[in-house]
């Protein structure tokens, strides 16, 4: 079955094809056209960790394609009683055709995929990967720049625990991006990921200074310093608020440069950016619907017609 655990599960050609399919599904995602391609299918939405956008956009994607959704949260379920992930997944395997899983433990998505027959989509495993977010990020980038090739991208903030940046950086270097990784020392990208990125042959710059590359960037990807990943408050306080992007920082930026953020934001991305031509984060959040539609169809083996009407 076609799982999606990391971006390594997709070739560049498959990524481009999925983005094309997502593009065709845009009218369905917006609710202008009803295309019940997934009628009779049931999605298990398994969120062992909080989520707003990912959970809702998967649910919307499934429902707009005529499918049904079962939601499971760890609170009040047998998970809270100490059930293993393996046992929970056996149950889900019986009730659903496909499952989306978010879990605080790293490796939980691959473990689930090994445990059951139904396709598994990784919606975030601890500080590991978040490939469906990467697909909507790539969709947003391609929509703005018309291409994924050879862009200059800054990733800013918590690159250590920030799973969205782990998956996105892997994908971007495969399309020849030049990456600037901006983070405080304590929140640098994990060494094995940087080593993988460098083995692609592209230049990877690691810096603590956000200002240097703003004017040459095609994409500035801001992330939140995630309080919930810090073992103690003092460590968090040392780095909270270290980066703040405001509209006035963007005076010398390229006209085509876009600012992205996986959301939720705290104070790293000032509301003053919202009204600039660079802001793309709310469109980015919406783009979760058509891209997740495309991914659901892929994993369930459903062909999307060339013309969706």
């Amino acid at each position: 079955m076609a799982d999606l655990i990391t971006m390594d599960d997709l070739t560049n050609e498959e990524i481009v094809e999925l983005l094309d399919i997502a593009q065709r599904l845009l009218p369905v995602a917006k609710g202008d056209v009803y295309a019940p391609l997934l009628q009779g299918k049931v999605l298990g939405n398994l969120f062992f960790e909080n989520s707003t956008r990912t959970r809702m956009s998967f649910e919307t994607a499934m429902k707009r394609l005529g499918g049904e959704v079962l939601n499971l949260s760890s609170i009040g379920s047998s998970v809270a009683k100490g059930e293993t992930l393996y046992d929970t997944m056996q149950m889900v395997n019986g009730y659903t055709d496909i499952a989306v899983i978010r879990h605080p433990r790293q490796g939980a998505a691959q473990y689930s995929a090994d445990a059951v027959e139904i396709p598994i989509l990784n919606a975030g495993d601890g500080a590991g990967n978040h490939p469906t977010q990467t697909m909507l990020d790539l969709f947003t980038i391609r929509e703005a720049h018309g291409t994924l090739e050879g862009l200059n991208v800054m990733l800013v903030g918590d690159l250590r625990f920030g799973r969205t940046t782990h998956s996105l950086s892997h994908a971007l270097v495969r399309f020849g991006a030049t990456l600037t990784l901006v983070s405080p020392k304590s929140l640098q990208m994990p060494a094995e990921i940087v080593s993988d990125l460098r083995s692609s042959g592209k230049d990877i710059t690691e810096t603590e200074d956000m200002s240097a590359e703003i004017n040459s960037a095609d994409v500035i990807y801001m992330t939140r310093i995630q309080k919930e990943r810090f073992p103690d408050e003092d460590e968090y306080a040392k780095v909270a608020g270290i980066y703040k992007l405001t509209a006035s920082d963007l005076g010398g930026a390229k006209g085509s440069m876009i600012v992205m953020h996986p959301l939720p934001r705290v104070n790293e991305l000032c509301a003053s950016v919202d009204s600039t031509k660079h802001a793309r984060y709310f469109e980015q959040a919406f783009n979760g619907v058509p891209t997740r539609m495309a991914l659901l169809c892929r994993s369930l083996g459903i062909k999307v017609p060339k013309k969706v009407t």
């Binding site: 992930l85 393996y86 879990h103 605080p104 433990r105 790293q106 939980a108 473990y111 990967n129 094995e192």
Partner: protein, 155 residues
């Protein structure tokens, strides 16, 4: 071979030579020969070696280690040489093969890996990314494993 004189030749069993100095006890643990067995075992540590400077040697009597057991040793002693002894003579030489995946040999060291829950029933799996230099990652969480500490995580 000077070190061979430190213990007598064995009649039948397995001799493991060229173990990195100081690691023979870990090897016994990996082979699960450290407790509950009655086979006589001779262990020589830190003896001079032309190839390695210093090395350890293990001789396990009346037990021929199979390939699966030997492959466990690859994490600590990938260059060890193994001889199966029958009637005081080398009957067979065996190589240690690291393979591509280590299943239920060691567990992931990362504290937030899904495999940290001891009740989860699926096997522990580590993937060999590169044999030389040795690079190993968890097949589930993808964390790189510290090779110097891997013996602490042997199952």
């Amino acid at each position: 071979m000077a070190e061979m004189r430190r213990v007598t030749a064995i009649c039948n069993g397995t001799a493991i030579d060229h173990i990195p100095s100081g690691h023979a006890l870990q090897l016994l643990k990996m082979l699960r020969l450290d407790v509950g067995r009655s086979n006589p075992i001779s262990l020589v540590m830190n003896v001079p070696s032309g190839k390695m400077g210093r090395k350890d040697v293990l001789k396990i009597e009346d037990r021929e280690l199979n390939q699966e057991e030997l492959d466990r040793l690859a994490l600590i002693a990938p260059k060890a040489s193994v001889a199966i002894i029958r009637n005081y003579a080398v009957a067979e030489k065996r190589r240690i093969d690291l393979g591509e995946e280590l299943v239920n040999i060691a567990r992931c060291s990362f504290s937030n890996c899904i495999t940290q829950n001891p009740n989860e029933p699926l096997p522990h799996k580590l993937r060999v990314i590169s044999a030389d230099p040795l690079e190993i990652r968890c097949a589930y969480c993808e964390r790189g494993q510290d090779i110097d500490e891997i013996a602490d995580y042997i199952l």
